[in-house]
């Protein structure tokens, strides 16, 4: 980047691209060329900045100005004001919601202040389609040092000492996994990158592959060196076309540079990578199901042991790691195990990427050190709850995670604390709920997801989750009983205890955690047949207040099912047996005579 005096970084993540960031980049290039500035200002399309709520994002260096909600039409002004005249375009700057002041330097943004970006280090910074930019940021230095200066055992030792644990959800120590796969004796071994990101709302793996594909390639090669594999496979869902495309470009460039292929860096080590496409089945994130899917079989898990480390792809020892796990490897090698281990908590080292979503101001992708509290994530980084509402719960760990209440806001986030609290780390989904969310409906919503995504192989998951869902449906429709609450708990316990794979073993978590933390809400649904958050339509009751009703007949005329009757100029009433709770009467009434109870 040495020749340029200025850099315009345009977010090229899937979200910003969908909002015309490609055109923004083009407009910049055209305008700069018209002004003869093409040699001075470089326009770079980068990976995701993480602050997706505010996209499309344009960042201008060296002064680190962060422009939000940029449109292609804004480009002329940005070039002429900021680049030519050196004046920041105030109206496009990020405004701090607390102070209402424009933030001139991205470093001053609360969203970024508490973040420590290791896995996302290059996302939003380099052009992912240019290997030189990756190399300029120490890219492939780790691979070089492993191949030329370290034995596989020494390298594994570093990963073990760093304390890195699998970021895909299980949290299994990565170094240990490598060591086990190394010790398996075989003529052929495989490195598999699990890019079958499936948690609803989670997109960290996609962002890494879109923003920094070489970090994954480099790490896979290091892993291949350590375990004794010359073949790597990336299992990626076909719904990630941009990630696939950038990964393909990166693999091609790495091959051209001799960083993949035969005799890498003259070390005698051979390694190459192939891409395999998944059809978007959640269960294929489970490593045995993923391997079967790659083998062309039905994507369903098999009983472990044998673990893939002993018998995986095509029956050969296979090391499966998630994208984010791999993205942590090169910095650990470069900076040392001690550096990484100094970040985080006692048993969870380093950082974790979370996808913030739900009723939160700053929706996006963040990376924080392990041990950061939920409060810091939700209030400091996330900017608090939308529309000034009250925080109710946060769901961590994706569909099979649990809902945590405000009592847990000061819990430092790490694998073990989340498990102890009845949730889990999962792949890092974090969905925030406010007072208007009904927790029974939330549990039902998550169960709907696992119900759809269960492979159907084992009976507890296949039938048990269906029954759980039916009970929840009964409850939200006002037909639940107190016995149903006991049934929910008993059945959930068995499903967790007896299911074959991680999907079934965790699928009742949303039910159990909401039962634990929001039992009163369940009770209200079954005892008094009310939904405290007013979300369960079937439990709503519209009534006309006699003293307020003027008999204007507006509700009567608008009711689509003829549930309202009454004489003109005298109070009307709603036949509850006919009412479909559509709320039209409530909206139409000009006298506030209709109440919801």
């Amino acid at each position: 980047m040495a020749d340029y005096t200025m850099h315009v970084l345009v977010c090229g993540g899937t979200g910003c691209k969908a909002s015309q960031s490609e055109l923004i980049k083009l407009n910049f290039q055209n305008r700069l060329s018209e002004l003869g500035l093409s040699d001075e200002v470089q326009v770079v399309m980068t990976g995701c900045f993480g602050f997706c709520e505010k996209g499309p994002i344009v960042k201008i260096l060296p002064d680190n100005t962060f422009y939000v909600h940029v449109t292609p039409e804004d480009v002329t002004e940005l070039v002429e004001e900021h680049i030519v005249k050196g004046r920041k375009v105030e109206r496009l700057l990020y405004v701090d919601p607390e102070t209402q002041a424009s933030v001139h330097d991205a470093k001053g943004m609360e969203f970024y202040k508490k973040q420590v970006r290791i896995a996302l280090r290059n996302c939003g910074f380099i052009n992912p389609e240019n290997i030189d930019e990756y190399i300029a940021r120490d890219g492939y230095a780790a691979l070089g040092s492993c191949l030329l200066e370290k034995t596989p055992e020494e390298t594994i030792r570093i990963i073990k000492d760093s304390g890195l644990r699998g970021r895909g959800g299980g949290g299994f120590p990565t170094g240990l996994k490598w060591e086990i796969t190394r010790k398996s004796v075989s003529d052929q071994k495989y490195v598999v990158c699990n890019a079958d990101e499936g948690d609803p709302g989670a997109f960290m793996d996609r962002s890494i592959l879109e923003g920094d594909p070489h970090s994954v390639i480099e790490a896979m090669a290091i892993c291949g060196y350590c375990i004794g594999a010359d073949k790597g496979l990336v299992y990626i869902r076909a719904e990630y076309p941009l990630a696939v495309e950038r990964l393909k470009i990166a693999i091609k460039q790495a091959r051209e540079y001799g960083l993949l292929g035969e005799d890498i860096m003259g070390s005698g080590f051979n390694f190459d990578i192939e891409i395999r496409y998944g059809a978007g089945a959640f269960v294929c994130g489970e490593e045995t199901a993923l391997i079967h899917s790659m083998e062309g079989l039905r994507g369903e898990p098999t009983v472990k042991p044998p673990f893939p480390a002993e018998s995986g792809y095509k029956g050969k020892p296979t090391n499966v790691n998630n994208v984010e796990t791999f993205a942590n490897i090169p910095p650990i090698i470069n900076k040392g195990a001690g550096w990484f281990a100094a970040i985080g908590t006692e048993k969870s080292k380093g950082t974790k990427v979370f996808a913030l979503a739900g009723k939160i101001n700053n929706v996006g992708l963040i990376e924080v050190p392990m041990g950061t509290t939920l409060r810091e994530v939700i209030y400091d980084i996330g900017g608090g709850i939308k529309d000034g509402r009250e925080f109710k719960a946060v769901q961590t760990g994706g569909p099979s995670g649990g809902c945590l209440t405000k009592d847990f806001l000061d819990t430092p986030i790490d694998y073990d604390n989340l498990l102890a609290a009845g949730s889990m780390m999962g792949s890092g989904g974090m969905i925030v709920m406010d007072e208007t969310d009904c927790m029974v409906s939330i549990a039902k919503f998550y169960l709907e997801f696992t119900l759809d995504e269960s492979c159907g192989k084992c009976a507890p998951c296949r039938i048990g989750n269906k029954r759980l869902h039916e009970i929840l449906e009964r409850i939200t429709e006002g037909n639940g009983t107190k016995e149903d609450l006991d049934r929910l708990r008993m059945l959930s316990t068995v499903i967790k205890d007896a299911s074959l794979c991680g999907l079934g073993q965790t699928s009742p978590n949303p039910v159990l955690s909401t039962l634990d933390h929001f039992y009163d809400e369940y009770l209200a649904h079954v005892d008094s047949k009310t939904c405290p958050s007013g979300q369960c339509k079937a439990l709503l009751k519209y009534t006309i207040l006699e003293d307020k009703c003027t008999g204007c007949t507006l509700c009567f005329r608008n009711c689509p099912v003829g549930a309202i009757s009454g004489e003109k100029r005298s109070p009307h009433y709603i036949d509850q047996s006919l009412c479909i709770k559509c709320g039209v009467c409530y909206e139409k009434c000009k006298f506030d005579a209709i109440i919801i109870g």
């Binding site: 009983v303 192989k457 989750n465």
Partner: protein, 583 residues
């Protein structure tokens, strides 16, 4: 050999490394219930997807419950098989399976033979706490097999048989979650698939999801029609298994009682497919000798090895999967069809009955025989040579309906002329039998000498692939035997590659041959039963006065009176067939 010490329900157990918890428990008399698990030891067939979760046990130090059928015993392991946690989980799982299962046990084809029913009884399930929606799928009826998919419990046994054992690849799990079920691709009907109707899926299905097409009603109607002459033929493997349906030990030969029962059911003539098996040997053996002689005389175009063609599932298999090899199998029809053809010509003529008024019923260990009898080429003007093919199980049903106390029936003989058979015909019922029968005749015809011995032990056994070289008076004849279509596939691939060393190959679709057929009494995963049936078949052979097909006096008479000679024009017309490319 590494030894593992563990404790199951506080009892110490010592097992070999690699033993499952289920097996280890079994060795000390702890019988952990299972549903999806199935292991046929001698046949090397195992289904253990770990899917039903009925066999879950508690393992000390493990977070969740472990399936005993696919958890290996490890040193120092402490297993509990009936703690409250385990029993609760096990019962809940069975309740869940029952909650998605039609409760029509009283009228289910599998009632009394249903492993799910047994399990519910064993676990004392009296109430289903988690009622809800039940899966509904359309019923799929084919010429041989009915799929009542609502009763599928996703044990995947049929899938293992269809894919791993038979390599036919029709049945596999489709859809996800609650809608997951085992079905042909795209949930198409079986008769649109490459299904061979071998019926091994039916043989292992724990519930009533897979059953044979029931033709007992049609047979009862025929028997009660005074205008019809109804005759019956019984396949060799039936007599070695039918007794099981009446509580007799596996391997009990019930040939005489079966003949008595059939007579009491009202069949006008009780004949034996073994007769037709002898006839098959005459035709197929002659064909083999013809090809062998031509080969030895240097004919480069002769098709060798010759493959047996008695098994209809095997025929359908190569028609779909190896159509380019369709000139290799013997053109001889199966014994069932030879019988039907002779009955409706030779025998009908003897009786002076029109073929339309002669009803031929066969009792077969097989469900594919239903399909075979429905093949168009085995009918004359729409009148099939074999009208109804019943399974061994269906015959048992008829016997029960006729209020016969099977066990106290006297032993009776078959009728003549189509009831006389030699030991060679009997052994058609087991893997290796057809080729042994062929050797007995071909040797003597080829060499012109009397066989020094009749028992060819080298052709017997239960190994999926066997080979032997028989000395035909100085000419070594290489013989291959395969049972199970997966094993057959290996031999066919050798033929395709031009590396086959064999002159003749016997192929049977079902593991064990016809004794393990899809229409036999359910073995419920016990391979010992098949071995006992096999033993019974060889015992019957040994007890026969005549043990070589060409010595059967009624066969000789048939050729003299009617057919002329093996491979004569009439034989070709009535006893041989052609194969079709169904790929």
């Amino acid at each position: 050999m590494e030894i593992i010490n563990l404790k199951i329900d506080n009892k110490p157990v010592v097992v070999k490394k690699g033993t499952t918890v289920l097996k280890a428990a079994e060795s000390i008399g702890i019988d952990i219930p299972t549903l999806c698990h199935m292991k046929l030891d001698d046949l090397n067939i195992e289904n253990k997807p770990g899917g039903c979760r009925v066999c879950v046990v508690e393992v000390k130090g493990r977070r969740n419950l472990a399936p005993a059928c696919c958890t290996e015993a490890t040193e120092g392991m402490e297993v509990s098989t009936h703690t409250m946690r385990v029993v609760n989980a096990r019962r809940t799982v069975v309740e869940l399976i029952l909650s998605d299962h039609p409760a029509d046990c009283l009228i289910c084809a599998k009632s009394g033979n249903c492993e799910l029913q047994d399990l519910a009884t064993r676990l004392g399930i009296r109430e289903i706490h988690y009622k809800g929606e039940q899966s509904t799928y359309r019923e799929d009826t084919s010429p041989a097999i009915i799929r009542e998919v609502n009763k599928c419990v996703m044990c995947r046994r049929c899938e293992t048989m269809c894919n791993e054992v038979q390599t036919v690849g029709v049945l596999s799990a489709v859809n996800r979650g609650f809608n997951a079920v085992v079905a042909p691709a795209f949930e198409m009907n079986l008769d649109h698939s490459v299904c061979t109707y071998c019926g091994q899926c039916v043989a292992v299905c724990p519930t009533g999801a897979l059953t044979e097409v029931d033709e007992t009603g049609a047979v009862i109607r025929a028997l009660s029609d005074p205008t019809k002459t109804v005759i019956v033929q019984t396949a060799p493997a039936v007599r070695a298994a039918l007794g099981e349906e009446f509580g007799m030990p596996a391997g009990t030969l019930v040939t005489g009682k079966m003949a008595a029962a059939l007579r009491r059911l009202g069949f006008d003539y009780v004949f034996d497919t073994d007769f037709a098996a002898d006839l098959t040997i005459m035709e197929e053996g002659t064909e083999l000798l013809g090809r062998l002689s031509a080969f030895m005389e240097g004919d480069k175009n002769v098709k060798l090895p010759i493959l047996t063609s008695c098994c209809p599932a095997w025929v359908k298999f190569f028609e779909h999967q190896f159509p380019e090899l369709k000139d290799i199998p013997s053109t001889a029809r199966s014994p069932q069809q030879m019988f039907g053809s002779i009955a409706k010509t030779y025998f009908a003529g003897k009786l002076g009955v029109k073929r339309e008024d002669l009803v031929v019923v066969s009792i077969m260990p097989c469900v594919a025989k239903k399909y075979e009898s429905s093949r168009e080429e085995f009918a004359v003007n729409g009148n099939p040579d074999v009208d109804y093919a019943l399974t061994t199980r269906e015959l048992a049903q008829l016997i029960k309906l006729a209020n016969l106390d099977f066990r106290s029936l006297p032993d009776e003989d078959f009728d003549q002329p189509l009831g006389e058979s030699t030991g060679a015909g009997v052994i058609f019922g087991t893997t290796g039998g057809v080729i042994e029968a062929a050797v007995r005749t071909a040797y003597e015809v080829f060499t012109g000498k009397s066989l020094p011995r009749l028992d060819f032990e080298e052709l017997r056994g239960m190994d999926g692939l066997r080979k032997a070289t028989i000395d035909f008076n100085g000419t070594p004849i290489n013989i291959g035997i395969a049972h199970g279509l997966g094993n057959a596939r290996k031999l066919l691939e050798e033929i395709q590659a031009g590396t086959s060393e064999f002159h003749a190959i016997e192929i049977m679709s079902c593991p064990g041959g016809c004794i393990g057929g899809g229409g036999q009494p359910y073995h419920h995963g016990n391979a010992e039963i098949l071995k006992k049936r096999q033993k019974a078949i060889y015992a019957e052979d040994k007890n026969k006065k005549l043990r070589k097909s060409h010595e059967n006096p009624y066969i000789k008479k048939l050729y003299e009176e009617f057919l002329g000679a093996p491979l004569s024009e009439k034989s070709h017309h009535l006893l041989h067939t052609q194969y079709f490319d169904r790929s």
